[in-house]
Amino acid sequence: MSALRLEVRKTYKLFIGGSFVRSESGRSLCAKSASGELLDNFCHASRKDLRDAVAAARPAADGWAKKSAYLRGQILYRAAEMLEARAPAMTEEIARSTGAASAQARAEVTLAIDRLVYFAGWTDKFAQVFGAVNPVASSHFNFSIPEPTGVVAVLAPDEPSLLPVISLAAPAVLTGNSVVVIASERFPLPALTFAEILVTSDLPGGVINILAGKRGELLPHLAGHKDINAIVNASGVEEMERELQAGTAINLKRYASRKMTAKDWFTEAAENPYWIADTVEFKTAWHPIGL
């Protein structure tokens, strides 16, 4: 009987505004394993999906930034808990996608969980570390505090498939930004599976959006989009770097480049707290004192 059964395969959908949606374009792509065999189909994001993701991220950022730092930390920690619970499934997803050995895939998942916990801890600390009380010559109490910049677009590298998504999105999200992640072009399935974990982790819809497809196609719209406040590019593709920087000049959006090798993502280099400072704006207040 089992020989007659047709496998029920899923088409991986995009994660926009807290729900799983098909591409507006109706297009899909085949996800292939490292050895070239067909794994599953996934939705191929168009520029309009990018537009929708930003439109979902914009209002989400307002509510998310207003939540207390403590609560944001709790929610990110909750995401780590959910990932821990589903670690075997995630391990399997990475292994079948990238062809990594099971132990290696499991190590990536474990590190991803730990890194989520690590960045969750930063939510109520980054303001003290990056903020400052400034000495000034007049009778003012002068201080600078970091505030989230708004909507951040994140370009993940091809490899590893999961770890960079978390290492790039978490430092942006923890301060109160919302993000639109363009997943690995070569191995998009683990990032899309991670969305299924996020959706069960109390994270408000739209705070993290995950798109998959062809980076080059989305790039010009990403760079010129005036409603994106910052771009974090870890794609590692030289031409993309140039195109993005030219585009960001139009509206002076923040641009950060992460030059990392696949191995670097497994090191402390990917836990750099200064990454948090790349997607914040500093507000300085002059408060009169001692008149």
């Binding site: 537009r51 930003v54 719209h221 010129g224 989009h225 005036k226 409603d227 139009i250 509206n251």
Partner: protein, 309 residues
């Protein structure tokens, strides 16, 4: 048009003469208008047309002369000249604000002044005060009057009272255009909307308008379609062209284009003019402007680059 004032039909039996509305069909047909694909140059022309047909509205207790001046400025020149965006058709304000709008717009303005009147938004006031309000708004400089009907009277079956009030306000308006707000969100059924439209048109309305914007649901596609069909049938019966104004709840450029499509495919090109079609909105304009800039410049826009609405 005056002959309708002097010779009303037998109002007690008007319900029998107005066709009923098939809810399923009208909702399906209305939904079909949202499926049209309008792109590039057609989209740009459509969006500019939407701006030219817009009654830019501010109907809030917190309206001040300064806010009205700002509203008028935005209506006159919604966008920097290089985008070639036309002026809005009118501003729509409370009677007390008409004088400030007139002061700002001057005597020969490109933008008309519409004033709500007759006990807006409920209409539950004596006829005398309604007429007084109308006259005051006109004296202060209103070009158009947006009156509300007495929904209580209509729902109680007192069509005569509703008819007479509209006719009396029309008489008080003189040359000024009269838009009659049915407040469809309170009329319960499409049959009632169709009937109220018919009574309003026969009583002398120049325009029929869906909503005050103070009641949910406000303008919807199906309800607007019912009213457009009433206008069409009235035109076939009398040769008179009555205008249409959906108002409230139209917030996106895409929605507004769907309304244009619906007007074109129900009434034809004749109605695609600010003299016969208006959109009442307060927040729609900025979305339309963002879409215009997006279409011209090719980049997705951010609300921070646009003036407050």
């Amino acid at each position: 048009m005056p002959q309708t004032l002097t010779a009303p039909r037998r109002l007690h039996s008007i319900r029998d003469t107005v066709p009923t509305v098939d809810q399923v069909t009208v909702e399906e047909r209305a939904a079909a208008f949202t499926k049209r694909s309008i792109k590039t140059s057609a989209k740009l022309a459509g969006l500019k047309m939407v701006v030219s047909m817009m009654d830019l509205t501010s109907l809030e207790g917190k309206d001040t002369p300064g806010r009205i001046a700002y509203l008028c400025h935005k209506a006159m020149q919604p966008m920097e000249p290089k985008y070639e965006v036309p002026s809005c058709a009118a501003v729509c304000v409370y009677p007390n604000m008409v004088r400030y709008a007139r002061r700002f717009l001057g005597q020969k303005p490109v933008v008309k002044i519409a004033s709500v009147a007759t006990g807006f938004p409920s209409g539950q006031y004596p006829l005398r005060s309604k007429l007084e309000e109308t006259r005051r708004a006109l004296v202060e400089g209103a070009d158009e009057i947006d009156m509300v009907i007495d929904r209580g009277a209509f729902l109680a079956g007192d069509y005569r009272k509703m008819f007479d009030e509209i006719a009396a306000v029309k008489a008080a308006c003189g040359a000024a255009h009269l838009k009659v707000i049915l407040e469809t969100g309170e009329l319960v059924t499409y049959d009632n909307v169709r009937l109220a439209s018919q009574i309003a048109m026969e009583a002398g309305a120049d325009f029929i308008k869906t909503s005050t914007g103070k009641v949910q649901p406000a303008a919807t596609m199906p309800v607007t379609l019912v009213m457009l069909e009433a206008i069409r049938d009235y035109f076939f019966a009398t040769g008179l062209r009555i205008g249409m104004k959906p108002a409230g709840g139209i917030r996106t450029a895409k929605q507004s284009l769907a309304y244009l499509v619906m007007v074109k495919e129900t009434l034809g090109d004749d109605w695609l003019t600010p003299d016969l079609f208006r959109l009442g909105a307060s927040t729609l304009l900025n979305d339309v402007l963002m879409q215009i800039v997006k279409t011209v410049d090719g980049q997705y826009q951010n609300a921070d680059y646009f003036s407050l609405s």
